[in-house]
Symmetry: C2
Subunit: 343 residues, 2 copies
């Protein structure tokens, strides 16, 4: 078994030598070599320059993670769709002209990924070449609800008032927006796979703001359309969200080879809820990496003990945080690889 196999095999619920681990935002501000690059380039410059995206994607591999994830941002498709944005210092993304009404939704372009996102596909090709089979490459996209929340709120949001106001108040306009976003995302993920992504993850990071009835009505048809199509490629798909305890059965139904679980639900409960016919990924609280090493090890061991058997990918429950000590990340990766189930 090569290193490449471990992560892909876990996604497919096949036996593995040790548990695979990668981390969301594993290429990021917690790494000194990333911060050094960010002093010279903006986040968007790193995303839009394939040679730089390659460089950043490769940085965390020194930690021994079992997968590389394309360096990019879930918002990149918004710009060619007609909603440019920037990352304001300390404030996160700012969409210059947020969607206010149905007319704004109608103006959004359902782009082909080659038309405005070619640099992402170019990055994937470069990364695959550089990886040369060492570890698999994960591509990704934001899911329609999460993308819509940025488009409508104009940035991060605490209560998603404007998003939900449109969703509840103008369901036809909402579904038009979801359809457009879903179609862009579907084509974008397909193009990433054609370019060389060996696994793709759909980030529905904020969908946990909804209860299951809303998910069923406003989200499910669109996410399902994306995932059922991508599943036909044979490439494993990770379906990720946070705060999704009550949504997980519907998320599984919508699709995904692997379902992401955050830290609010113990992994054995997630397994009991979702059954054995799907792989799971998660669920270490990213803040655990700020704790002393014995605490990190105990928490990782606890998760691993709950996940005996096949079909599990070790990961955090959400992205790694900027101030995380890199030596703790290194220890976590090593610990997961060294772990053997007692008995």
């Amino acid at each position: 078994m090569t290193e490449t196999d471990r992560f892909l095999r876990a996604c497919r619920r096949e036996a593995v030598d040790v548990m695979p681990i990668w981390m969301m935002r594993q290429a990021g501000r917690y790494m000194p070599e990333y911060r050094a690059l960010r002093e010279k380039y903006t986040l968007l410059e790193l995303c839009k320059t394939p040679e730089l995206a390659l460089k950043v994607t490769m940085q965390p591999l020194r930690l021994g993670v079992d997968a590389a994830i394309l360096f990019a941002d879930i918002l990149l498709p918004l710009e060619p769709m007609g909603a440019p944005f920037e990352f304001a210092k300390g404030e996160g993304p700012v969409v210059h002209d947020p969607i206010r009404d149905r007319a704004g939704i109608e103006r959004l372009r359902v782009i082909d990924p080659e038309d405005g996102l070619g640099y992402v596909l170019e990055s994937i090709k470069l990364i695959r070449k550089e990886l040369n089979g060492k570890v698999p490459l994960i591509g990704f996209a934001g899911a329609p609800f999460t993308l819509a929340s940025y488009l409508i709120e104009g940035g991060k949001s605490a209560h998603f008032v404007k998003t939900k106001k449109l969703m509840y108040g103008e369901p036809e306009a909402w579904h038009l927006l979801m359809e457009k976003l879903a179609e862009v995302v579907r084509k974008y993920l397909r193009a990433q796979i054609v370019a060389g992504a060996q696994v793709v993850q759909l980030f529905d990071s904020w969908v946990g703001q909804l209860g299951p009835d809303d998910y069923q009505q406003y989200i499910f048809p669109h996410v399902s359309k994306i995932l059922k199509d991508i599943e036909t490629t044979g490439v494993p798909v990770i379906h990720f969200g946070t705060g999704t305890t009550t949504l997980l059965p519907l998320q599984k139904k919508a699709g995904g080879t692997v379902i992401g679980v955050d830290w609010r639900l113990p992994m054995d409960d997630a397994r009991a809820m979702l059954g054995d016919d799907v792989a799971l990924q998660g669920n270490l609280d990213p803040t655990i990496l700020f704790a002393p090493v014995p605490v990190i090890e105990a928490r990782a061991a606890d998760i691993l003990q709950r996940m005996r058997g096949v079909g599990y990918v070790f990961n955090l429950g959400h992205g790694i945080l900027p101030e995380t000590p890199v030596e703790s990340v290194q220890r976590l990766v090593d610990f997961v690889h060294e772990f053997r189930h007692p008995g």
Copy 2:
């Protein structure tokens, strides 16, 4: 049955004529008369001047809600404990000197409520007198985790990194902090009851950031100590949080006559999870109040249909939002009162 009975009877799982309704933050920025007062006084001035707190507390009663809730803020105890704060314009609370270490925790004073919070108790007496039995008065306090998060982060937080870093990394210091906060809160709620509060609510607004094992280890002993003591007074206690789907059984075990449920969990699922021996409160998504009236009515009807029978208090899943149309709030209150279960 007087109006007073309806809310108290629902808390005690006794039969009611119609479902009682009140709303978290029902005295707040969505009301023009509240905004008019806030042009003249700061939030803290309103809290600290019993005549003004009385005035604000009474404002939403014109909507026909079945309970008044003391106008105050969960952070008020922090100031006499030795951690003064202010509400910065548009930024929420700012604790001037956040807790950094065990020494900071040791310096916190375990105050008696008369020692620095006398104005709250005075407000309660004034409000009870003014209410004159029309509707019951709810007192409240923040729960230890939620208060600790403001003390440690210095304000609102996205990831609670500093809070969890202390919790995971220095458990002894953490438990000392929790003990101090729990003792202040326990005495504060008891004093509110002596002053005239007929129901009290414990706001553990942010505890849904934790999974059940962390809740059990770091939170449960302290919340339980508060609630088990308050239960001996015979006054109903509402135990509230958000994002708590995986914590609800432990929260029920920790105590409370009524358990709060946010909008992520359908109320009938909450009832099935928690059993018939506890009252429930919630769970309309506060953003629903931004939807057209027929949507508000349909959502309210859906919740009411799921909650046939006794032991339910209609409420939002979290506080009412500042931009909420007041006429929609009025319609919701009327709709809940007019609702009759079919058949």
